[in-house]
Amino acid sequence: MIHFGQVYKRYPGGHEALQDVSFNIAQGEMVYLTGHSGAGKSTLLKLIAAIERPTSGSVLINGHNIRAIKREAIPALRRNIGLIFQDHKLLFDRSAFDNVLLPLQISGFDHREAAKRVRAALDKVGLLAREKANPIALSGGEQQRLCIARAIVSRPDILLADEPTGNLDAEYSAEILNIFRSFHQVGVTLLISTHDQSVLQRFPARALHLDHGMLQQGSAT
């Protein structure tokens, strides 16, 4: 599902964000991506979503080669990837419901079917009662859950989460990880970046550890 082969990413200005990174993630796997801040976790996630392209090496996502992907093919790729951002990237000019509706509008869903799906997604993250609220009125944890609802509403095969528990206290973190685990159980491929070691201890799974842009020995398999 996700394949990295000897991937290098160098940003303009010479900063080597990733060096010789190779790994595979099978369909339905749940994998952590760990490392200190600046180790290249965000860059790695951006390569998967074709937000950045590798300088060299091959990144294969669901059969798409990110290095050579055509601009017009990127939307279709991204529709199959649910993105969860540390800063949520919610839109404050519309309700929670409409935020979650956006991906379905983009893929051209029938309105009634879309509304059903949005409510199901909001229910899944426990925000059904807040569907009319503006995201700005939601707490940090609620905003994160709303972001998750938006990522899963179109039922993607892959979920990428960038520090989803970064700003949350332990109780909220546990809530969110429980939501992730429930997706894992229905066969979604998950890649969760975190610098929070306590998360790994409570919900153990395979972890890829990045250190200064290099994958630590032993974590690739």
């Binding site: 937000i51 939307p75 991204r78 990837i81």
Partner: protein, 301 residues
């Protein structure tokens, strides 16, 4: 069906965006409307004058006025001679009595004509030439002037030609005006859309991140440009129609004094539809330029 639904949805959200900033939207529409109403108004005025000119002189002709007191046999001989000329296609004779009668009927001068002690009008031949191009007309004009029997030979098409040239100038001026103001319309839309793209930056970025195609992102802006141009066109239509209505109102008082029923033309349906289509298209074009200029700059990072 799915396509149609998407487009209807975009139309709906675009309308609500227009509605969301009523002040700015209204201002833009008014500016576009005023800009468009200038060339449209001149176009309509020119059309009226052109119509007037062509109704007065449909085919170019030469009027030959005779000295007073010619007798019938002499007139008949003259007519035969004129008809024998190979430059002449047809000759029409208007006797001075007929001319007086026509004058009485056609203009509002009936009272004045009735007061005249005798008929001041001459007998007239109206000559329709075979060829209506300017050189042939002028040659015939010169030839007829050399005839001793004629008091005065008048080339009736001369003033129509001058008017035509003037109208041509007017049309050119209108075209230039229309072109520059169309560019202004495109520029206005370009800027409006630019500002919109800037304020909707977050939405565009997020939409791209969750898989929106360029077309999906572009569509609402194009619709906005189209709608803004179209409503601007409607404003221009209203402005021009209202002005013509007002002008025709006071023109009626004036033309009554001359017993004429001259009226300024109002915008015909084809012209109105062309105006709407054109203004909508220009708005769309401005939006398209703006979107292709600015949208690619917003890429998620």
């Amino acid at each position: 069906m799915k396509r149609l639904r998407e487009h209807l949805h975009v139309l709906q959200t675009t309308l609500s965006r227009l509605w969301l900033t009523p002040g700015a939207s209204l201002l833009n529409m008014t500016i576009i409307g005023i800009a468009l109403s200038l060339p449209v108004g001149t176009y309509v005025l020119l059309k009226s004058v052109q119509h007037l000119a062509s109704s007065v002189a449909e085919t170019p002709q030469i009027s030959v006025f005779l000295d007073a007191g010619r007798r019938d046999p002499e007139l008949r001989a003259l007519r035969e001679r004129l008809e024998a000329n190979d430059r002449v296609s047809r000759v029409e004779f208007v006797s001075r009595d007929t001319a007086l009668l026509q004058l009485q009927q056609s203009t509002g001068a009936s009272d004045m004509v009735g007061d005249l002690p005798h008929n001041p009008l001459p007998d007239t031949f109206i000559i329709y030439p075979k060829s209506t191009d300017a050189d042939a007309m002028e040659a015939l004009h010169q030839e007829l002037r050399s005839w001793q029997q004629f008091d005065h030979v008048q080339l009736d098409s001369a003033w129509v030609k001058k008017l035509d040239a003037l109208l041509g100038l007017g049309r050119l001026a209108t075209a230039i005006l229309a072109t520059t103001l169309s560019l202004a319309l495109i520029a206005i839309t370009f800027n409006t859309i630019r500002l919109q793209i800037l304020t909707r930056r977050d939405e565009i970025e997020v939409s791209k991140l969750i898989g929106a195609s360029d077309g999906f992102i572009r569509r609402p802006f194009l619709y906005f440009g189209l709608l803004q141009g179209l409503t601007g066109g409607i404003v221009a239509w209203l402005l021009v129609s209202a002005s013509l209505w007002l002008l025709n109102g006071s023109l009626a008082d004036l033309t009554q004094l001359y017993s004429s029923d001259f009226q300024l033309h109002t915008l015909s349906w084809p012209d109105s539809l062309a105006l709407f289509a054109f203004s909508g298209y220009l708005g769309w074009l401005g939006a398209w330029f703006s979107v292709s200029q600015h949208l690619w700059q917003i890429e998620p990072r």
